[in-house]
């Protein structure tokens, strides 16, 4: 280090020198950040109470799908479940008032399943009071007891970002399925009414980045299946040990599952409709694409140096026979695995069982500099129309 005879300069230089000698502890940031990166932004969706009456669950039960499609389920809701409508526990309201369209419908249809799982330490109790599960997506009601003065999710900013200081604020959640670590890719937390309640959402669709080098999901990630034991390890601020909630989860929906395996080809690109699953709380679409469009310009390809460079930015919209489109449940993103396009997207459920569904694939322009998506272009030759009558 440079020495001077000026005592003032020596003090500040010595200070700077010492600052740089500060010991930095093991941070393990990479793992924590990858996990965080795979979550969608924490959502703060304060929803308005529904004004219209929901269609009666019984009206959409018992309807068979037809036309040679492999139907496993036969309708959205069993009559047994529909009859339980009047027995929805009050706590289910966190889903009804603050959940997405699927959860609100789920509560109305009696799909909420109460549980009694709790863990207490440091003057705070964290409970899971119930869940809704359709074999694909699970939403868990979380409730905190004990005075902290901070919201269970901390301070949620308008852009969905969170400030997680204080005490008793959820920092992160680790999921275990049947006692094994389960890489969910991302999870969504929604804030409940009181600041002491929240909804945790995750699902078993393909996480973004699967198939890329070192992706945690590549280590093996089974479907959640009909039933499993769920363990949540919830780290909260102000505590040095996680709150552990363990309870059995069982699917209680009757889903409409279509496995058409139909293939359409156009311009060097072939698209297979693998599976379409309609449940009372979600719509899940699985497709595989192969090849590249010969006549599409470079503006529709993901630019060099970006993940999936050279591939088309591919998306899908789903409509019913009246041209009502279901929304993306979260931010749907395709994956490229061994050169093939893998679409495993989740949407909100149809409000009522459609007579037919039209799947409209599109490609999107990508700005070469910023990588941002632009105008969408439907590829009508690759559309699938699926009759459900």
């Amino acid at each position: 280090m440079k020495r001077t005879s000026d005592p003032a300069e020596r003090v500040i230089e010595n200070l700077e020198y010492m600052i740089n000698l500060t010991e930095v502890p093991e941070l393990n940031l990479e793992e924590r950040i990858v996990e965080e990166m795979n979550k969608t932004n924490t959502v703060n969706r304060h929803r308005h109470r529904k004004s219209g009456m929901m269609k009666k669950a019984a009206a959409i039960s018992g309807i068979a799908a037809a036309l040679g499609l492999g139907v496993v389920g036969s309708g959205f809701v069993s009559p047994t479940m529909a009859s339980a409508l009047s027995q929805v526990p009050l706590i289910g309201n966190v889903f009804q008032q603050y959940g997405d369209a699927g959860l609100q419908a789920g509560v109305k249809q009696g799909l909420y399943q109460p549980v009694d799982a709790a863990d207490s330490h440091g003057g705070i109790t964290l409970k899971s009071t119930g869940y809704i599960y359709d074999g694909t997506r699970i939403s868990v009601a979380l409730q905190r007891e004990g005075k902290t003065g901070d919201g269970l999710l901390g301070e949620i900013l308008s852009n969905g970002d969170r400030v997680t200081g204080g005490k008793g604020v959820i920092k992160d959640i680790k999921m275990l399925v049947n006692g094994e670590n389960y890489f969910v890719g991302r999870y969504i937390l929604e804030e409940g009414e009181t600041g002491d309640s929240a909804i945790l959402n995750f699902n078993d669709s393909l996480p973004f980045g699967t198939g890329t080098s070192g992706h945690p999901g590549d280590l093996g990630r089974p479907a959640l299946g009909e039933s499993f034991e769920l363990t949540l390890q919830v780290n909260m601020t102000g505590g040095d040990q996680p709150y552990v909630l363990k309870f059995p989860v069982k699917k209680n929906t009757e889903n409409l599952v279509l496995n058409p395996q139909s293939v359409k080809s156009h311009d060097g690109f072939s698209l297979t409709l693998d599976k379409l699953e309609l449940t009372p709380i979600s719509t899940r679409l699985t497709m595989t694409g192969e090849g590249e469009f010969k006549s599409l310009g470079e503006e529709y390809k993901i630019p060099d140096k970006y993940l999936y460079a050279g591939k088309h930015a591919f998306g899908v919209h789903i409509f019913d026979e009246n041209n009502n489109r279901v929304d993306d449940l979260y931010d749907n993103r395709m994956n490229i695995i061994d050169g093939k396009y893998h679409i495993d997207f989740l949407f909100t459920p149809f409000k009522e069982k459609p007579k037919s569904v039209t799947i409209k694939p599109y490609v999107q322009k990508v700005d070469r500099t910023s990588g941002k998506f632009g105008e969408k272009k439907y590829i009508s030759e690759l559309e699938f129309k699926v009759d459900l009558k």
């Binding site: 200070l15 932004n41 910023s370």
Partner: protein
């Protein structure tokens, strides 16, 4: 060749590389963002540690800062990613500090000694010297120390002119000398001596 010149040359390369990673991360590359994280984590830890003064809270803050940067990377406009990141870090650290002070006021009422943190002798000496500085002055010293930023670069982070920062830096020098004289002054030299023994 002067060592400083070599650092500057490397810094230009480094800056170009970081900006390229930032562009890739904006387009959705998680790998690029991880490279950014690896690159900045040590310096950012030291920077935040002397603002927040609590190692555990600094670790949490660091994670929050990178997540915030990742989620808002679309807002980065390409001037200097490093300056953009340090602005986030400073704002977040100040928020943590404010919250901590509110809690401390409450804790003080109950004399919660358990919440006092222990630091190494060297860290304590640094904190003692930073103590008489305002948050802005502390920010300037830390940015200069941790990243060896020029006044022009620090100006981008602190929204000040380089000329104003030079003057501020001079005032900090004088303030620290005065502080050392008032305290009796030999402590910092002692610490330097002991910390160098291992090199």
């Amino acid at each position: 060749m002067d060592k400083r010149t070599t650092v500057d040359a490397n810094r230009e390369e480094r800056r170009a590389l970081i900006d390229e990673w930032a562009r890739q991360a904006q387009a959705g590359s998680q790998e690029a963002f991880i490279k950014i994280t690896r690159h900045f984590e040590r310096q950012l830890y030291i920077y935040c540690y002397y603002l927040i003064k609590d190692p555990e809270e600094t670790k949490d803050a660091l994670q929050d800062i990178f997540i915030r940067a990742y989620r808002n990377i679309g807002e980065y406009r390409g001037a200097s990613f490093s300056a953009w990141l340090y602005r986030i870090a400073y704002t977040h650290s100040m928020n943590v500090l404010k919250k901590k002070k509110r809690e401390q006021r409450l804790a003080d009422r109950y004399r919660d000694e358990a919440r006092l943190y222990t630091h190494t002798e060297r860290d304590s000496a640094v904190m003692e010297l930073l103590e008489p500085l305002t948050p802005d002055e502390r920010n300037l010293v830390l940015l200069k120390a941790v990243e060896q930023y020029s006044f022009e670069e620090i100006g981008q982070i602190m929204d000040c002119t380089a000329v104003g920062l030079r003057k501020k830096y001079e005032r900090i020098r004088k303030k620290l000398v005065q502080y050392e004289r008032n305290k009796g002054g030999a402590k910092i030299e002692t610490n330097i001596g002991s910390s160098r023994a291992g090199y």
